[in-house]
């Protein structure tokens, strides 16, 4: 399966508190709370690192899950965030995040 790249949308406010991350869409004020696994993926969403590498380096060692299962869950997770417009998915590396 081809690699995908994820980057944080500019249309959000976000902060990590403890090991969780709260994200608020500036478009409709919807609030999202990410757990520690979601936070690990979110904080690595730089548009340049393939999702598979994020999962391999940030999720698998930290949360003791098989790479296949972790990648499947991660893909579902990022697609859900992307459907709300708070994360962007690309088939190629993105040089920089969206600017304000």
């Amino acid at each position: 399966m081809a690699d995908i790249y994820i980057s944080q949308s500019a249309e959000i406010a976000a902060r990590t508190v403890g090991d969780e991350t709260v994200i608020i869409s500036t478009l409709d004020s919807t609030v999202f709370m990410l757990n520690s696994v979601g936070t690990a993926i979110w904080s690595a969403a730089d548009g340049a690192t393939p999702l598979s590498k994020i999962v391999e380096e940030r999720v698998c060692p930290e949360f003791e899950v098989s790479p296949e299962q972790a990648l499947e869950d991660a893909q579902e997770f990022v697609e859900k965030l992307a459907s709300h417009g708070i994360l962007q998915i690309s088939g190629a590396p993105v040089s920089h995040g969206a600017s304000l």
């Binding site: 500019a10 959000i12 406010a13 976000a14 403890g18 969780e20 709260v22 500036t26 609030v31 709370m33």
Partner: protein, 365 residues
């Protein structure tokens, strides 16, 4: 539990300043009769200093940021500050009188993803609003700006501060808010000047007027529910805090002074001399404030209203003791329920009602 409530509990437990109110100037183009600020220029922080403060707040975990003043748009770098704040992923609310928001500014506010613009409107009648702001044409300019903001899809909230000058205008302002498609908030509290001068408190509405407002369905919803007496606080409330000021909320003046809240001018440190983290974690004033639980409040801990009272420790501080009652909140509780607060019973300051048939009952102490 809502996600934001959950987040707030977590921030309280971890001591994270989840919310911050940053006044970038105290200068203003209006001269509202009830304003709690003086408008002298005393050496505002520079753009770079403010950028540094914003970075420190972001690093400390602040998510909710209110940019205010004075009139923030009087600073030429206001949009630079807003843009920088948004680049740091703050959820930004802008408090402004909006008279300087033209088409270009409204578009930029939308583009920056400002969460909400909060504007005070004192009356739907220009002669009353303008007499309070002392700026001729201000209601027209503010209303035009709100229309521009709405046309760009910006969320706007109108606050109607109740005073003797505009009493009876709240319904008109509410209608105006509905027509403009914006949120309407009513605020019956006049705050003393941060200098300690309490003379502007005399502009506030009377107890009878407050009672009328708080018994109006249009403003409070179900009056019977809103005004029903509630039993005293349970143990978990007594073990908690009465307000987020200094716990998850910080205020920063244009000169770098840090207070627990804009309405709580207790000096905690200055950002030109110390880092925000140093002040937030090590200020003796904040450390002492955080040690105070509801059960430690010498009068309010055994008041029958303490399970729902909006007691403001800042107003209490300005009355001389933040562990004490804040009289505007005692008045609100009395106006709602007809039952005097513990502080009112002690001082005899409540205006007797004709026949309430209700008394506050408590055991011997």
């Amino acid at each position: 539990m809502s996600l934001l409530l959950e987040l707030n509990e977590k921030a309280t437990a971890l001591g994270v300043p989840l919310g911050a109110h940053l006044d970038i100037t105290w200068r203003c183009n209006e001269r509202c009769v009830h304003c709690y600020l003086d408008h002298d220029q005393k050496g505002e922080m520079t753009t770079d200093e403010i950028r540094g403060v914003l970075r420190q707040l972001a690093d400390s975990g602040t998510l909710f940021l209110a940019i205010s003043g004075g009139e923030p748009l009087l600073r030429r770098d206001c949009f630079e500050i807003l843009e920088y704040a948004r680049s740091l992923r703050f959820n930004v609310k802008l408090k402004t009188n909006a008279v300087m928001i033209g088409e270009e500014q409204a578009a930029r506010i939308r583009q920056l993803g400002i969460e909400q613009v909060q504007i005070s409107v004192y009356s739907h009648l220009p002669e009353i609003h303008d007499a309070i702001t002392k700026l001729p044409g201000s209601l027209r300019r503010t209303t035009e700006a709100i229309r521009r903001l709405r046309a760009h899809g910006v969320r706007v909230s109108i606050t109607n501060v109740l005073m003797k000058h505009n009493y009876g205008n709240a319904r008109g302002v509410k209608r105006l808010a509905e027509e403009l498609g914006v949120q309407f908030v009513i605020d019956p509290t006049i705050t003393p000047m941060l200098s300690g001068d309490r003379s502007i408190m005399s502009l506030g509405i009377s107890g009878a007027q407050l009672e009328e407002v708080l018994h109006t369905e249009e403003f409070v919803g179900d009056v019977n529910e809103y005004c029903a007496p509630v039993s005293s606080a349970e143990e978990d409330v007594l073990d908690g805090y009465s307000c987020s000021a200094g716990h998850t909320l910080a205020y920063i003046s244009p000169f770098g002074d840090v207070f627990p809240c804009v309405a709580f001018p207790m000096p905690c440190g200055n950002l030109r001399q110390q880092s925000f983290r140093e002040i937030w974690w090590h200020s003796p004033a904040l450390t002492e404030l955080r040690s105070v639980r509801v059960r430690d409040l010498h009068t309010c801990s055994h008041c029958g209203h303490n399970s729902y009272c909006s007691r403001c420790p800042g107003l209490a501080y300005m009355e001389g003791d933040y562990r004490g009652p804040s009289s505007p909140d005692c008045e609100k509780s009395y106006a709602r329920t007809g039952i005097p607060s513990a502080a009112q019973l002690r001082s005899g300051t409540h205006a007797p009602r004709a026949a309430t048939g209700l008394v506050q009952i408590q055991g011997l102490q």
